[in-house]
């Protein structure tokens, strides 16, 4: 991880559909998220990812689990967390 990614908390997705589905679920649950272009250092998958405040990470991880949100990578404080990822094909 490069230095500039250290504080980043984002979720990347395989498809725009899943990014928007996740945004929909987070917003309805009252968690603030923002759609941003995927930093090239993270992925070359779908063009947009969700950025969130690292302080919200517990809530976000919990919602991903409960709603079985299909993610590609979840990056917390600049490091990928892979053990709770619901992959599209692995479900």
């Amino acid at each position: 991880m490069s230095k500039e990614n250290k504080q980043i908390c984002v979720i990347t997705f395989h498809s725009t559909y899943y990014a928007l589905k996740a945004e929909d679920i987070f917003k309805k649950s009252g968690v603030k998220v923002k759609l941003i272009p995927v930093p090239r250092s993270l992925s070359s998958n779908c063009g947009i990812c969700l950025e969130f405040s690292c302080r919200e990470k517990e809530k976000i991880l919990n919602l991903v689990k409960i709603h079985k949100i299909k993610t590609e990578k979840i990056i917390i404080d600049g490091s990928p967390i892979l053990n709770i990822v619901w992959s599209v094909n692995g479900q």
């Binding site: 395989h14 498809s15 725009t16 559909y17 899943y18 928007l20 589905k21 929909d24 759609l35 941003i36 272009p37 995927v38 070359s44 998958n45 779908c46 063009g47 947009i48 299909k70 599209v88 094909n89």
Partner: protein, 381 residues
Amino acid sequence: MIFYFDNAATSWPKPESVYKAMDNFARHIGGNPGRSAHRLSIAGAKIIYETRELLANLFGINDSSRIIFTANATEAINLGLKGILKKNDNVIVSSFEHNSVMRPLRFLEKELNISITVVPPSSSGPVDIKELEKNISDQTKLIVISHISNVTGEILPVNEIGSIARKYNILFMVDGAQSAGSIPINLAEIGVSLFAFTGHKGLMGPQGTGGLYIAPDVDLIPLKQGGTGSRSEYEEQPDFLPDKYEAGTPNTVGIAGLGAGVKFILNTGIEKIWKKKKSLSQYLLERLKSIKDVQIYGSFKEDKLPIVSFNLGKIQPSKVAQLLDEKYKIMVRPGLHCAPLAHRTIGTFPEGTVRISLGYFNTEKEIDYLIKCLKKINKSV
């Protein structure tokens, strides 16, 4: 003033919100959905996402990613049939199928040597269920049933056929071209493997929109491959939905209109729409019967759409339609309605019929005017 009675071909007029949504996309959004990450591209992608969610809501589906957008029901049916059928498979269909089903099947008959079994109606209904079950063999891969006949407006027994398909572990595709947006539909309850729909009829969207619902246990070979905005580093098509089946820039302006149409239906209430359509159907049938020399084909059941096929004495259907248009500004459709098989079934092949198909915005008063004009034509020819 124009009197539009051709809603089974395409519904018109549309709700005001449909025109507005399309204008808004074309004028203020315009971005290519899911390709770039700027606000206009995201706004386009959101329109498509929201339309998918609205359709899932209307059809009783949990996972909206399993709704694939297509150009129309025909493309959806082609995707279903060509994605499933293999060499020497058998397909069972009703005797009310549209050419959107029959033509790809006849093509596959030549290409892949599939066999097609057409199940006749019974004395009590449009599909002889016992006959259907008897015709199931080891080769039978798929049953395809038109949900509502585009010639008679009658509903086919999809729930009953769905449970037979499940019993024999056969895939089940429903052609919802006429039913989507007109009657309450719960796809989970019917137990479909595939449900094809168009956006420009009951769903009140524009032409060039439609889709296919693919049940979770069903895998299809895509009709096309190409750009999706996802997995751009790979030259292979992604294997997740909806991207797997949606290569190329979609009809976002159309899907914006479709979303507004579905929203109109959800806000109005599908039960209310269905009730109005049933009542228009009964009123139309009653009034038509009052015309001397009129021959009505198909069902008089209460649970049907206001799609009615008839002939007026010995006057050719095309002549009746021409006179209605030229003299009275009434739009109907004569002929075979792209469904020669259905016309053979009701005994009106090859002359066809005059078809009146009413939409949610038609009124009893308009029907009264139609009847008056038909009576005049009957006297004058």
